[in-house]
């Protein structure tokens, strides 16, 4: 870089940035918000996933192979006897029980419980105790029933020490364990971020009522023998068992979270994209304003490339400040994002260990770099425009606006082409489950409409000038005509505002429609009078089931007309995670009302599958695996694969990994019986749900712990979970509004500063301060209104893409379009009000325009 470059950078760029401090600050804030959001979401996503992976690695220890049931269920420990051939190969193996429990005391933390062979397991996992032990500590006490080691994090949260008792919710009851010692914060002690209980496997079997059953068998097998051992074991073991590497489990969870995390990341980029428009806006207006300066520099011999580099440097300076502020504030946002992400993952996908944010420099570098890159990218167009300014043209201020007016038809053609490509992209399928084309269609729609903006404004502003003059006076006409006269600047401003608002509208429509769809679905599908689940499932969707005895006792309550004992557990279908459910479909047929995609009556479909090897599948499963009614699925059972016919596809919004639901009798034919996870209870007519709830509590053993919800309470709970799930989207939504408002303020400042000469002339011509204020405020109102109108239009297109393409391809859910009019009206009013508010300072500046000074200086 030459000395001249730095001189020009100082005099031409830095001074300008400092002179227009408010505008520079607004731009920096816009970039900072975008970077902060992006950083926060990425930090939260990777922290959650890394913690999960770290926990899995710690549980696996030195294990290189694991034997487990294909259905992710526990299995008979008799399998161990068939593995004796491993001794001959010198391969160590050990049974493991892995279960979840929930602390009975608030805050009801989810706890990983490991049942290990305490003598053999040291070869597999490192395990050490903290130095603080009770005086009568004996290493052998760990083999006593209910005695356990607890993780240090758990111990410190609940103030546990050696010899204390600790109450746990296990399945449908509350149980007590004795703390034998506290684990050191290393090895197994760090599993689930220290929220772990380790006990002898025999004690764990007793605690979880898993007599002679185990979760898996871990093996330490040399790499070269893995293939041989895997195939040898599969020959001697039942086909329902599978040998796999421990890493597969992490990979499966990653697959499960993929859509959620990708989409969250994509949404987090929205604020950054709106920030890009803000930069484009700032740079464009800055360059238009300095055309004569650029022209003069060009006339003085400054080369085009140097002009280009100068403006790229300006973007780099704004981008660096914004990105730096973004990464600093992003850490704060990330704490909130981590809570929201963990809550959603916990509700819908997998139990996550509690996590503190982890310092991940690579994500900070990525966020900073991306913020900077996108800023410079957004500035490239305007910088190129600066290069193209011929020295002679610089003398004519209006030349750029005339050029834009001339370019408008060509830009419109380009816009139409982009919109056409957007339509094409919208009809393309997902790639590896991710809606790349859906997002491309959204981006093309945004850029397409942005290109159409000048031609639309050309006619609409003229019409507005006539229309507004009728009831707001000549100031309104002057305001609209001034905006029309500065078509280039107005187009950039309206397009930026439109993009910000469209993001807001699309998210609002998507969330509103989704919420409305879920409310309708819940209203039509959830027909039971009471819903019952083990208390432990309130904290973790994967912890706990109901004892057979309790279910039987409930069935005996005379006020109850029918009970559907539903079993639900995770399985894999074609290597993809999903859920298998088994219910008493005769009860569902009589009392329930599932909504089927083809509109068929629930009872009709359910009657077809009763007693047969047939299933119904959820819509998301059908879309993910390309299955239709009449297709055959091959499911893994303990005795190998068996075929089932798909009789119907039903709407389900509980899980995006999908459900396969078998009739209970078919389930019992192919799987070992297992306890129910939830009960749907239908009452006889005229019976009080509250009275039956009390009867159930009375039928429970003393240590029984259940969640019993009435139909109304369950529906409220579904919406609470929905709102929790979307809390982060609501936050992203709010941020995109803030960035859009920053855009309006920025643009208005720029336009007012730009119009100083015109304002000065108007003052010469006798305009009063009030008239000048009115003029600028009307300009602000027009910009807000046009941005709102364009945003509504583009937002509607984006919401259709979100609902029918992006969401459908990612999660497989059909969402019925429903416009949240109240929210949209409130948002529009807010943006309009903010536009006017953003115009207050420029209006005051305009009223105080020192006419001789500005007219002379220009």
């Amino acid at each position: 870089m030459s000395r001249v470059f730095f001189i020009l950078l100082h005099r031409f760029i830095l001074r300008e940035l400092l002179k227009n401090r408010v505008r520079s600050l607004l731009t920096v804030l816009g970039i900072a918000l975008g970077v902060a959001v992006m950083l926060a979401i990425n930090l939260a996503n990777t922290t959650a996933l890394n913690k999960f992976q770290e926990s899995l690695d710690l549980i696996s220890g030195k294990t290189t192979l694991s034997l487990k049931a294909r259905t992710d269920a526990d299995f008979d420990q008799a399998a161990l006897a068939r593995m004796s051939m491993l001794w001959e190969q010198g391969i160590k193996f050990t049974p493991v029980i892995e279960q979840l429990a929930v602390s009975a005391a608030a805050p009801h933390e989810v706890i990983q419980v490991l049942g290990l062979d305490m003598l053999a397991d040291r070869d597999f996992r490192s395990q050490s105790l903290s130095s603080a032990k009770s005086s009568d500590y004996s290493g052998f006490d760990i083999f006593r029933l209910r005695h356990a080691y607890v993780g240090s994090s758990l111990a410190s949260k609940y103030g546990l020490k050696s010899g204390d008792s600790f109450e746990l919710l296990i399945n449908d009851r509350q149980e007590k364990i004795i703390v034998q010692a506290v684990l050191a914060d290393e090895g197994v002690g760090r599993v689930f971020s220290g929220n772990v209980i380790v006990m002898d496997i025999g004690c764990a079997q007793e605690l979880f009522s898993m007599k002679e059953r185990i979760s898996r068998v871990d093996m330490i097998c040399p790499e070269e023998k893995i293939a041989y051992i895997s195939s040898a074991l599969e020959k001697v073991l039942p086909s329902g068992l599978v040998v796999e590497r421990p890493s597969r489990r992490g990979a499966q969870v990653e697959k499960m979270l993929r859509s959620f995390q990708y989409n969250l990341t994509a949404l987090s980029l929205i604020a950054l994209l709106v920030g890009m428009f803000l930069i484009y806006n700032t740079m464009s207006i800055g360059i238009i304003r300095r055309r004569w300066q650029i022209g003069t520099l060009r006339a003085l011999g400054v080369s085009g490339p140097m002009i280009f580099r100068l403006f790229c440097c300006e973007a780099l300076i704004l981008g660096s400040c914004g990105a730096a502020l973004g990464v600093l504030t992003g850490w704060g946002f990330a704490r909130y994002a981590l809570v929201a992400v963990s809550r959603t993952v916990q509700s819908h996908y997998a139990d996550l260990p509690p996590s503190e944010l982890v310092w991940q420099p690579q994500i900070f570098v990525l966020a900073f770099g991306l913020g900077l890159f996108l800023t410079v990218l957004a500035a490239m167009g305007p910088a190129q425009e600066a290069v193209a300014i011929p020295p002679a043209e610089a003398a004519r201020r209006a030349s750029y606006e005339m050029k834009i007016l001339g370019l408008a038809p060509r830009l419109a053609l380009l816009g139409l082409l982009l919109l056409f490509l957007s339509v094409l992209a919208a009809f393309q399928p997902a790639i590896a489950g991710f809606p790349f084309f859906g997002y491309a269609a959204a981006a093309l729609a945004v850029f397409g409409t942005a290109a159409l903006t000048p031609i639309c404004l050309d006619s609409s502003l003229k019409a507005l000038a006539r229309f507004l003059a009728g009831f707001l006076g000549m100031e309104a006409r002057l305001a609209a005509l001034s905006l029309h006269g500065a078509l280039g600047r107005t187009s950039v401003t309206v397009a930026s505002l439109m993009v910000g608002i469209s993001m807001m509208v699309s998210l609002a429509v998507m969330i509103g429609s989704f919420r409305h769809t879920v409310i309708t679905w819940v209203g039509q599908t959830l027909k039971a009078d009471l819903w019952l689940e083990p208390a432990s499932r309130a904290a973790s969707r994967r912890a706990g089931n109901l004892s057979y005895e309790l279910v039987e006792r409930i069935r005996q309550i005379k006020e109850i007309a029918a009970v559907d004992a539903f079993i639900e557990f995770p399985i894999e279908y074609e290597n993809e995670p999903c859920n298998l459910g088994a219910g008493e479909l005769d009860v569902m047929e009589k009392f329930g009302n599932l909504m089927f995609v083809n509109g068929e009556q629930s009872s009709k479909v359910l009657s077809r599958i009763r007693g047969k090897d047939s299933v119904i599948i959820s819509e998301s499963f059908a879309l993910k695996h390309h299955k239709r009614s009449g297709d055959t699925l091959f499911l893994d059972s303990l005795s190998g694969k068996f075929p089932v016919k798909v009789e119907g596809i039903y709407y389900d919004y509980a899980s995006d990994t999908g459900f396969i639901v078998l009739p209970r009798e078919s389930f019992l034919k192919h799987f070992e019986e297992r306890p129910a996870t939830t009960l749907a209870i239908f009452l006889k007519s005229g019976v009080s749900a509250e009275a039956v709830r009390q009867s159930i509590f009375a039928a429970m053993p003393a240590n029984g712990r259940l969640n019993i919800r009435t139909n109304k309470e369950l529906k409220e709970e579904v919406l609470r979970v929905f709102d929790n799930t979307f809390s982060i989207t609501y936050a992203l939504h709010a941020i995109s509004i803030v960035v859009a408002i920053l855009g309006v303020m920025n643009a208005l400042f720029a336009l007012t500063m730009e119009s100083r000469k015109d304002l000065g002339i108007i003052k010469y011509l006798g305009a009063s301060e009030l008239q000048m204020k009115k003029l600028v405020l009307i300009q602000a109102g027009i910009l807000g209104t046009l941005g709102n109108a364009g945003g509504l239009l583009v937002g509607s297109v984006l919401s259709l893409l979100l609902i029918h393409v992006i969401n459908k391809q990612s999660f497989g859910w059909t969402i019925q379009l429903d416009l949240p009019f109240d929210f949209l009206l409130e948002s529009f009013a807010l943006i309009f009000f903010c536009s006017l508010l953003a115009g207050v300072i420029p209006a005051r500046l305009a009223a105080k325009t020192p006419a001789p000074e500005v007219v002379r200086s220009e």
């Binding site: 209006a398 006409r477 002057l478 005509l481 006269g485 002339i761 108007i762 011509l765 305009a767 301060e769």
Partner: protein
């Protein structure tokens, strides 16, 4: 409109420059006065203060019965709107408005007549400057001479008693300058407008009834032709 200036001074504090220094001057109704002097002598400052756009540091200005320094900002705005027309060296037309809209603007700002009347008067004024045919053109589509004729039309459209012109021919070639000046003088005479014109050009000054010469913020000479 009679204008009387007494001991007028203007000091730009930030630059420690005295732009006008104890100036005394008067202008008669219908008089066409040219103010000449080198750049920085205070011509434009004087015009701006007379027009109520800028405020003096000391001294008094009477426009008719009114003393400018005693007037509120609103009263000044009103007086400027109703009684003063401006013509600038660089035309200062609003680039975003058409020729017609530029000319109609002072009438619209004054809001003293209806739309039909505004249109009638603006078009009449454009007829007088021979630009009615180009009423829907934008300033960027006009030549320099045409732009200044639009500026003259705009300055005269609300029939002000005082016209202030700052180097009206400074940005025009000789031929265009002469035509514009001739038109300006003719219209001022017709309407009995008092006109004060700052200029560097002796040819332009020769059109005036009186020439006032300034230097360093003082009056050197005031000569009636």
């Amino acid at each position: 409109m009679h204008i009387r200036i007494e001991n007028l001074s203007k000091q730009y504090e930030e630059h420690h420059v005295k732009a006008l220094n104890e100036l005394n001057l008067s202008f008669e109704k219908g008089e066409f006065v040219a103010i000449m002097g080198p750049s920085g002598c205070g011509k434009s400052t004087l015009l701006n203060i007379i027009a109520g756009i800028d405020r003096q540091s000391s001294g008094r200005i009477f426009i008719g019965e009114h003393e400018l320094s005693a007037m509120s900002e609103n009263a000044l705005t009103e007086m400027r709107r109703d009684n003063i027309g401006f013509i600038f060296q660089f035309f200062n037309l609003l680039s975003t408005l058409t020729v017609y809209e530029n000319v109609a603007l002072p009438l619209e700002l004054a809001a003293k007549c209806g739309a039909a009347e505004i249109k009638k008067r603006a078009m009449e004024m454009l007829e007088k400057v021979s630009l009615a045919a180009r009423h829907d053109f934008y300033p960027s589509q006009l030549s320099g001479g045409e732009m200044q004729r639009v500026a003259i039309a705009r300055a005269l459209v609300n029939n002000p008693q005082l016209i202030v012109a700052d180097e009206p021919t400074g940005n025009l070639d000789t031929e265009n300058g002469e035509q514009v000046l001739e038109l300006f003088r003719k219209l001022c005479r017709e309407g009995m407008h008092t006109a004060i014109m700052a200029t560097h050009s002796q040819e332009a000054a020769n059109c005036a009834d009186r020439i006032v010469r300034m230097k360093d913020g003082r009056i050197l000479e005031s000569s009636i032709k």
